[in-house]
Amino acid sequence: MLLRVENLSVQIGSITPLEGVNFDLDKGEILGLVGESGSGKSLTALALAGLLPLIGGRIPTGRLLFDGADMVPMSRSQLRALRGRKIAFVTQNPMTALDPVQRIGDQVDFVSRTHLGLGRKAARARTVELLTQLRIPQADTICNAYPHQLSGGMKQRIVIAMALSGDPELIIADEPTTALDVTVQAQIIQILTTLVRERGLALVLITHDMGVVAQACDKVVVLYAGRLAEQRQVNALFGRPAHPYSAALIGCIPREGMAPGSLVGIPGAVPSVASYPTGCRFHPRCTNAGAGCSDIVPELRSLDAGGAVACHYPLPGIENA
């Protein structure tokens, strides 16, 4: 197993915006991390990349096993040696992800020069090769361009090239397509999935787009209000969601042949960290809530069909363990 997340919690100051997250991921697999804004997706991503100290966060409990080694007790310099080399990061907004006053080539070169010890020329050759593989035309000219001269989709490819440049084993992509045009979104997702299949990388794809999950991922982790709701194989989740929240998310995907006006959202909104409800945090919005939901926190239970769910009244069709 390349990555195993065990009971991960994140603390910022006195609040705990993320707790009890469990999942694992092997090489060649894509894991979708889904949930509405404020569910803790990005925090999970930062934790995986060892970037929590940047926002003043820390991990009070849990383990992050990468290649068998726990990242939680690692020093900043140990984490830095992993970042860019073994674990690469693709940010949400490519428009602001690159340093606007530095040439593209230099920004990509840095990774292979630092982590692979390549010289100036070798690093540039690698950069041009990577850009070409990502179907960026005239890669050697682009290397001398500045970020503002490129389109959003092009910049995201540069960010992906930067991620690949250190020859990583795990890529964490935090909503890599949210800021892009729809047509470009599909291209970027395709590039990422192809990389995983061809190079045997592992990819954690953070998204709030269930369509993308259905299309690209092998596994899904559904987060709600800082807790894990459900964790399944993609087909199992879409076939028979166990958590009412997962079912509601799936219900939000528009489908062919739907009657106009029949697409419904989930009523209510994700509560903020300051006002998390007691018991199951989803119960005020849940259509399936019953006795106990409002005061007993549901334990994460394994499902016979594989995966796990944290719900007192999982949806029918699921054999509970």
Binding site: A49, L51, L54, R80, A81, L82, R83, G84, R85, A88, F89, T91, N93, T96, A97, L98, D99, P100, V101, Q102, F110, V111, T114, H115, Y146, H148, Q149, V159, M162, G166
Partner: protein, 308 residues
């Protein structure tokens, strides 16, 4: 880029004209005239008329302006009425002193301001930050003439390290430079600190960390680089200011600079000298912002692209 600099230089012409009109009008609005300084005690109104006519001060203001402007455009700044020497000579004598003081003070405040600002930003809310920002607040609120006197008392009178006044030796430059430079240091340090903190929160900095770059390199190569862009704006505004803004300090240290010349000429209503001094200061402000804009364009490709 060169086209842009050329356009900006062309823009100096209308500004020059507008500034000259304002300067000329304001000076002639001030009550009193230079003739008072030239008349001997007990001389009558006839003598006053003769002298007034000699300097053309009896002509209508518009004509006086025209005569002055056409002279300036031909490189003739006129003759000082009270000092009775060509204005150009007076300026040529004073300007090098002001330039030396101004440029040294600018270098002083740039160097120390940026260093202190960076140290404060990197130790945000810790002791070093609070100590620097406290010192900076003190430095920026202390008036130059008072700080100058304080420095003279301590370093010249008590310790005898530097001369009290004058501009004959290099060591005489130290205290004035510190006095003028400290105010700028405070300003630059504050701007650098805030700009560093702001730049460190930009999205791309997160990706630099994600690439595994060392924090020191991130801060000095990337964050500071962005933070310096607003610092350059502040500094370019000071280039012009520092020539004329050192007036009180020049008086305190009795340095024969542009500021001293300007004050003396103002007191004597010596129109041609005052006009020339103010014109030089106004042009220095204009050139300062131009230099600042050019440096910014050199630092930021987006600004270069916008300029075409």
């Amino acid at each position: 880029m060169l086209g842009y600099i050329f356009r900006r230089l062309l823009l100096l012409v209308p500004v020059f004209l507008a500034v000259s009109v304002v300067i000329f009008s304001i000076i002639h609005l001030i009550p009193g005239d230079p003739i008072d300084n030239l008349l001997k005690i007990g001389s009558g109104p006839e003598q006053r008329e003769i002298i007034t006519a000699r300097y053309g001060l009896d002509k209508p203001l518009v004509v006086q302006y025209w005569i002055w402007l056409s002279g300036v455009l031909q490189g003739d700044l006129g003759t000082a009425i009270v000092a009775r020497r060509p204005v150009a000579d007076l300026i040529a004598q004073a300007l090098p002193h002001s330039l030396t003081l101004g440029l040294c003070a600018l270098a002083f405040s740039t160097t120390f301001g940026i260093v202190l600002g960076v140290i404060a930003a990197l130790n945000r809310d810790k002791f070093a930050d609070q100590a620097i920002m406290g010192g900076v607040l003190l430095g920026s609120t202390m008036p130059g003439f008072w700080l100058g006197l304080l420095l003279i008392l301590v370093f010249s009178v008590w310790l005898g390290m530097f001369p009290v006044s004058g501009a004959r030796t290099w060591s005489a430059l130290v205290l004035p430079v510190v006095t003028v430079g400290l105010g700028g240091t405070a300003l630059v340090a504050r701007v650098t600190r805030v700009a560093m903190i702001e730049a460190a929160q930009r999205d791309f900095v997160m990706l630099l960390h994600a690439k595994g770059m060392r924090p020191l390199r991130i801060n000095l190569r990337h964050v500071l680089r962005h933070a310096l862009i607003p610092v350059v704006t502040i500094l370019s505004l000071r280039i012009g200011w520092i020539l004329g803004g050192a007036v009180t300090v020049e008086v305190v240290f009795a340095r024969p600079g542009l500021g001293t010349l300007l004050i003396k000429s103002l007191n004597q209503h010596d129109y041609p000298v005052v006009q020339a001094c103010l014109l030089i200061l106004a042009m220095a402000v204009m050139l300062g912002t131009l230099i600042g804009d050019v440096i910014q364009a050199a630092m930021d490709p987006r600004i270069r692209a916008a300029l075409g």
